[in-house]
Amino acid sequence: MTTSQPALPDSILSHDTQVPPADVRPARQRRRWPLGVILALLFLAVLAIGLVVPHWLTRYDPLLSDVSQTLQPPSLQHLFGTDRIGRDVLARVLYGARYSLLIGLASVIVSLVIGLVIGIAAGLGQRYLNEPAARVFDVLSAFPAVLLSLFVVTFLGQGIVNIAIGVGIAGIPKFGRIVRSRTLQVRRANYVTHAVTFGLSRWQVFLRHLLPNVLNAIPVIATIDIGTAIIAVSGLSFLGLGPQPPTPEWGVMLAESRDVLRVAWWPSVFPGLAITLTVISISVLGKYWQRNFEGRPQ
């Protein structure tokens, strides 16, 4: 090291240069997306097309039954085969994307909004607010998630909106706890103290400094949680508490496929595969994002 020190290029020594240090740029170029992330993005892109314009990908109607084509195994004509009353399984899986994804998303929004409000109130409030909120999260997480959702659905009745609320309520403690501890952390941070010292009003400090810093951890966690929510939602649908047949929701399709399990595997394999691949893709993306997010200085 000491013997043959290469001469530093002038550009690094001079102050007026615009060129960043030589070892930074290649590192940025070298960062390629892992194969898993690319596959996950591709799958979710197909799913997004299914969500918005499913008729681009299939020429079949998900609700139209063709009695001459019942329980056809997968073929070129019907890539995923047909179900008991001759509906195209591929079309149903594609059209089903909107139900499963949107209900899952809605339930995450429910848990996010409620968790955020309780969490921030608990983090900012005095002891008398903080402790009870922590206990509320304890209580909610003492109930198993599925049972809590079932309890809520018993009250509200069955249906698409209600299972979203049911799953959402079960997810509150997860977000609430994170938001509460982030809030407690951020309110003691130096920059908040500085902002107060400089005479910003409570609202200004809250909106400009506290909220953005509490929220920046949320997108990643919310993304990963969508996968869990999709499983929970389609589980409730499978139990018959959500959308009803003939809705092409993935959980409903799986429940319907049980009757023909003995003779046909395709009506049950493909909708379940759709759920599993969706959840895997979301969690691969979320974890990749989390790693890069955590690596970045905040």
Binding site: R135, F143, V146, L147, S268, G272, V284
Partner: protein
């Protein structure tokens, strides 16, 4: 007082608090929707005086404070009320159905834990390939919904190879598929967490010391690292119990097994509130009791916590 006893007492107290809050939340939830209980009880029947009679019979015409006190008092005596639909004590209904569920949850829980520990202990810190393979399998298992896995296993092992019965709860054979169905997704999650903990432990200095002493790799893992692998399992114990109880609802429905899960599902479908409420409270009780026990267990597994 001994710090351990103090800690256990504090834990029990907070457990009681959680139970009381859970019961109160349930009470508030039931009464937040007025008239609902009478409507459910009356069903389709419509004649004058019916609703009033029902209110009187169930004490719904008294003040809320009285009902709340009565509710807590009954709970304290272990009385969970009667089913609206079955006209039978909830306790009787549940206790007649609890054994199959305990069997299912217990075997699935043990299977998931053992699988996760074996996979994690064998693959943590090994070659890149085996680690990647293990984490891919874990991700797939953790992302597979119970209700799909069950269907796949049925297709393969009941219809294709006819090794196990499709449904029912007679003999150990009928327990295999439901238990595996319930266990595999949980094993995926547990194994992810356990392996991470093990890989952290492998980087610690004591591992180098033990290796320098000449202990074999497997002995090192079994004798010294298993304890580290157990910690996250214990931490996740509460979550595991919850998932087992919740998953039992779906698994029992799928395999046509009797049990608390089936009772719960039927109660939800017929809006039989006392039964659902009892199951939820029972689950909370089990959760609290087991996580208290695990907390104590934690102190034995990780003696570092005992030193102040």
């Amino acid at each position: 007082m001994h710090p351990l006893i103090k800690r256990i007492l504090a834990r029990l107290l907070s457990a009681l608090l959680v139970l009381w809050l859970a019961a109160s939340t349930a009470f508030v939830a039931i009464h937040a929707l007025p008239g609902k209980i009478e409507d459910v009880l009356a069903g389709d029947l419509q004649y004058p005086g019916l609703r009033e009679a029902i209110s009187a019979q169930w004490g719904l015409d008294r003040s809320l404070a009285w009902q709340y006190g009565h509710f807590l008092e009954r709970l304290a005596h272990g009385d969970l009320g009667s089913s609206y639909v079955m006209q039978q004590d909830v306790i009787q209904v549940l206790s007649s159905q609890i054994w199959p569920t305990v069997q299912l949850a217990l075997s699935a829980g043990v299977l998931a834990t053992v699988l996760a520990l074996v996979v994690a202990t064998l693959t943590a810190g090994r070659s890149r390939l085996s680690r990647r393979l293990a984490s891919a399998v874990e991700l797939i298992l953790a992302s597979t919904p119970v209700f799909w896995l069950g269907l796949l296993l049925l297709i393969a092992f009941s219809f294709q190879w006819r090794l196990f019965p499709v449904s029912g709860a007679t003999g150990w054979k009928s327990l295999v598929l439901p238990a595996v169905t319930l266990a595999l997704p949980l094993a995926g999650v547990l194994s992810q967490v356990t392996r991470e903990a093990l890989e952290q432990a492998l980087e610690q200095a004591f591992v180098t010391t033990i290796r320098a002493r000449g202990l074999g790799e497997l002995a090192l893992r079994l004798r010294h690292l298993l304890r580290h692998a157990l910690l996250p399992v214990v931490t996740l114990g509460g979550w595991l119990i919850g998932s087992l109880l919740g998953g039992a609802v779906i698994t029992e429905k799928m395999f046509g097994r009797p049990g608390v899960g089936s009772v719960t599902l039927n109660a939800v479908l017929s809006q039989d509130l006392p039964v659902v409420l009892a199951v939820v409270l029972l689950a909370a009780l089990i959760h609290v009791v087991i996580s208290t026990l695990l907390d104590v267990l934690y102190l034995f597994i990780d003696p570092r916590l005992n030193t102040p």
